[in-house]
Symmetry: D2
Subunit: 350 residues, 4 copies
């Protein structure tokens, strides 16, 4: 059994880790921390977890957490994770950080998150988008991707790899659970119901991860929709023009003049994602309910006629594939398990 | 492995059976029928089930279904189930009928459902409310309870058993999935969103099951709320007056004059539901999310001061404990398994 | 023109007063107060009101408010209204208090709201349920009814007047706007969406108003539904038994043995509400959308067969008929206007 | 008084015309047609309109409709409007067609809507986007714009006029009322709640109107959100590069290297929409609730740093500014009234 600790177990990300790890056949939860709820039973604070977990929330030393755990999930806000990670690693625990603290280079992090990075080292973390980074398997520190970047990058990675993409605009729509467990103006029911709320429409920080992974021109505009879970990403992909790119795959594609065929593009996706069990290429439109509660990323694309635009739709559950489920998928690889261990179940439809 | 057939696998009840049975370690789904989708892969029609089920929908003889199955779940509308049950049983299959066809005595059925009962026999079915009917374990035919009766009966059964109840009004609020997979006026989003729809406010047919099980004066008023899943039942229980009932338990209770204490009533519930793993007596208010996707029934009660009223709140997922989950719980008992086999996981919160 | 002041213009009740008074042909808003937003334009804080109101929020002396206004709407939380009312009246302003401070007798208020009443006088306020209290027309101080009592009392008043009612249980379902503009656990979207939340199930304070007006045995259980506006009240009415009551109207009714006919009961409602323009007796089921944004109360009833129960459904918009609209209806009468002035428009369907 | 007829008064567009015209001080509704509900009172079929309209639905000759009306609103599906328009005009009625039948040139219409245009003439209709087409005032036939094109065109027209736009991608999110009054798979509550549904992601027909009005490269991807009303359009605008366009306004703007300042762009919008009373340029983010039930179009923009992209957000009520309200705005101009007559009220917040 793998002993797994969770730092920050009272937020949505931490609770989703608990929910999923409780169903994982190879894991025992060793410790769950929360300063606010210290000494209370996890299942008293979160009655949906009764009677599945006997543990109390604890507020213990980082060292002790490391000692009691083979792996520690750090599920605290960015800026706080780096308070724990160096010591956890020094004590020999493997770490999956669900915050943004180790996703970017330190210099980039400090510029984008506008705070000093407190870790003295330029620590090498693997960016835990499992489908793109098999090196997760040998990592000691995984930086679990942001929810938006997960849906966005997976939507276009195959096209980018082919050198076909000149620019992409991600127009993303997220359920409100991504904003966390604390009530706010945005999560206030009368403000969100019957509404859709765009925010940080030209400057959301998650765009840095997308650029880091994709190396093409990326714009990103997020919205919150009146839904609890899920991110639907609409990727407006502009293809590099043939006379400029002259890449081989692209030339081969241009059957119908300047435009690629749907079939050809779908073939690229199939090849790219072959064997990736959590990527489902769809003939129908992805829906948030099909992925609800699951680690799947559903994808569908359509080539616009007489245009250089391809529209790719991806759907994930922001708390699972966009967070805690992907973290567990990473853990599985780090411990030599099948990537779907504990995560292999269908979505909650309807 | 138990071979389980599903007749009517394209509605919400049938699909929920598929979803849950796919996760059941002791079951193999042997056949799923649908006239409408005959020949199509179940996971093509219902993409959330991909790649978990390879089967195609079939439209085969009842005899063949029986031959290929140890147990058959009949998930067709009431009035149709009785077309299948006699033959299934004649061929030796165990049957769990999720329709209303075998819940009541034939005469009552014919009066209330206003149709002739086509089964020639007065077939003895066990009413599959597992917590109240352990004789399910030896049944060949189980009539799976209606969704509303499940939430209602479980809410008050302990009080009724004590002889304390004179009358009860169930005011129930259901998610719209109870109305089925077909679009209708009621399920039309602009009609249901920002609304709550009472219907059949004095004469819903499910009241017959409640009366059959409870043997007290029962009224029932259902409403549809803008939610996909879940039934929250508010039971307004009026206690028998002490001078009339003179029952022992009641006398013992009357610590504070005419009113019982909360603690005493809670004690009654604890005793009654001891060892019933899917009943969770709550200190906080039950919520639909805590039971979402699960087979739990969460219950909380409060004694009204200076009154003869107790309010009991119960929460279930109408498609699980109120339908397919309870059916599997029954199957578990019929096959000597632990009642929670394949059903033991926490709800989808948030 | 009537100069109308609003004390507490930043909450939902105050804002709804602004919205409605802006459309009222006989009213000019003279002052809107808010400590928090003092000095900011009302339409900057609430962009939906742009460009309809030029005023800034003010934080001025109660005397000045009185001097600038013919009538003052007090839209602050209970416990605060009594800080303003005595002085407003002393300076000659008419007052409509939308809080609970003047609805009950002082002694009752202090017991139920568990605080001292700071007004030195036992001030005589008319309970502003216009349909029942025409004496509003000559009042200087109106205590505007609570949102729940409005829907509840209107649902059963005709039956009570006939002496037919022995006991009534109000099971009410409210939109979340009734809980106010401040984000909270209950209004947090992931907690309320796909849920329904019962609260204060045996002891909500609004029951005191219902008892004061109805003089029968009343129980009340409120729930919050995932809707912004609206209250749907399900009144479970238990009729007085004929041998006990022996009232004339009741005897006359008992055409079908012990039960009254629907027609007869409807006739009672028609007579009772004749000429009351905001009461609509419905043949179909009331819906929250039909009353959305309006001052209507829609009512429908159904007599349960072979029972002493009548179910009455009423629907109101909690912020209009259940609050600010009713306040304006009261103002209209106090100033000799038609009661529907400024309030006569259909609901927002769909 | 203007006598206004409505052909097709049982759908959402027709009903919204009724709702709004009932509040219009200069209009009397002369006739409302519906084949399905012929002979039934409009307020019986639509109880929210009681007691505001006495009329019954009629099914009468087009000639008679024309004779009884100064203006006729045609609110039937596209393909049917052209059955009425020629005769209405021949009899001298002014016509506002809310369908797509007269928005495009006949040849374009036939290609895009894949049906023959039955009108024998190439009839000259004014495209009724009032803010851009003051010539509406002298029109006899107005083609009322589609809901999506209204939100999209208004979002970017000022930039297009300046010659600044190279390409624009409209990513639109609509409430489900745009899909009409008939229940469907998409409007089925369990399918839409907790979801967002992209559709016709590269080929929606409304794009033709956008191209017709904007004359730049336009792509359009619509989604349905779990909301009843409203369209939020996210316009991703790509600016023409300075070396190519060399237009004067653009040169003047480039204060900060290649990028324009927010202020400068906002100034362009202010100038363009000066005096347009239903356009509200916002400092905060537009929301669907601020425009709910109203004829406003709220707009906000943001220039992306170090990029050639501007993001413009517009919000409308699809049934009002995106349909019936805009139709009435057109009518007002056609009859010499102020454009806001009957339409000047704030949105329903919360």
């Amino acid at each position: 059994m793998i002993n797994a600790g969770i730092i920050g177990g009272a937020g949505y990300t931490g609770l989703e880790l608990v929910r999923l790890l409780l169903m994982h056949p190879e894991v025992e939860i060793s410790v769950v921390t929360s300063r606010r709820y210290r000494g209370k039973k996890v299942s008293d604070v979160n009655p949906h977890l009764f009677p599945f977990i006997e543990l109390e929330y604890e507020d213990v030393d980082t060292e002790e957490i490391a000692d009691r755990s083979d792996i520690v999930f750090v599920a605290v806000p960015h800026g706080s994770a780096m308070d724990y990670v160096p010591e956890l690693m020094a004590r020999g625990a493997k770490v999956i950080d669900l915050s943004a603290d180790y996703r970017l280079k330190k210099a980039d992090y400090e510029r984008i998150y506008r705070r000093e990075h407190k870790d003295k080292e330029e620590r090498k973390a693997v960016y835990g988008l499992t489908e793109l980074h098999p090196e997760v398997a040998s990592a000691d520190l995984v930086a679990n991707p942001g929810c938006y970047p997960t849906g966005a990058i997976l939507a276009v990675a195959p096209l980018v790899k082919e050198g076909m993409v000149k620019q992409v605009v991600f127009d993303a729509k997220s359920g409100i659970s991504g904003a966390g467990v604390e009530p706010s103006e945005t999560s206030h029911f009368p403000n969100l119901a019957e509404n859709i709320i765009p925010y940080q429409i030209t400057e959301h920080r998650h765009v840095a991860e997308m650029r880091m992974e994709l190396h093409v021109k990326v714009s990103f505009t997020p919205h919150v929709i009146p839904s609890i879970r899920g991110i639907l990403t609409t990727a407006h992909v502009f293809l590099a023009e043939s006379e400029k790119t002259q890449t081989k795959p692209l030339q081969g594609l241009r059957g119908r003049g300047a435009e690629p065929h749907n079939d050809e593009i779908e073939e690229i996706y199939k090849r790219f994602y072959e064997g990736k069990r959590f990527i489902r290429l769809r003939e129908g439109m992805p829906s948030l309910s099909s992925v609800r509660g699951t680690n799947f990323c559903d994808i569908r694309l359509e080539v616009e006629e007489k245009s250089n635009r391809i529209v790719v739709i991806s759907a994930i559950d922001n708390l699972v594939k966009g967070g805690s489920g992907q973290a567990i998928q990473n853990m599985n690889l780090m411990f030599g398990l099948a990537e779907e261990e504990g995560l292999w179940f269908p979505g909650l439809v309807p």
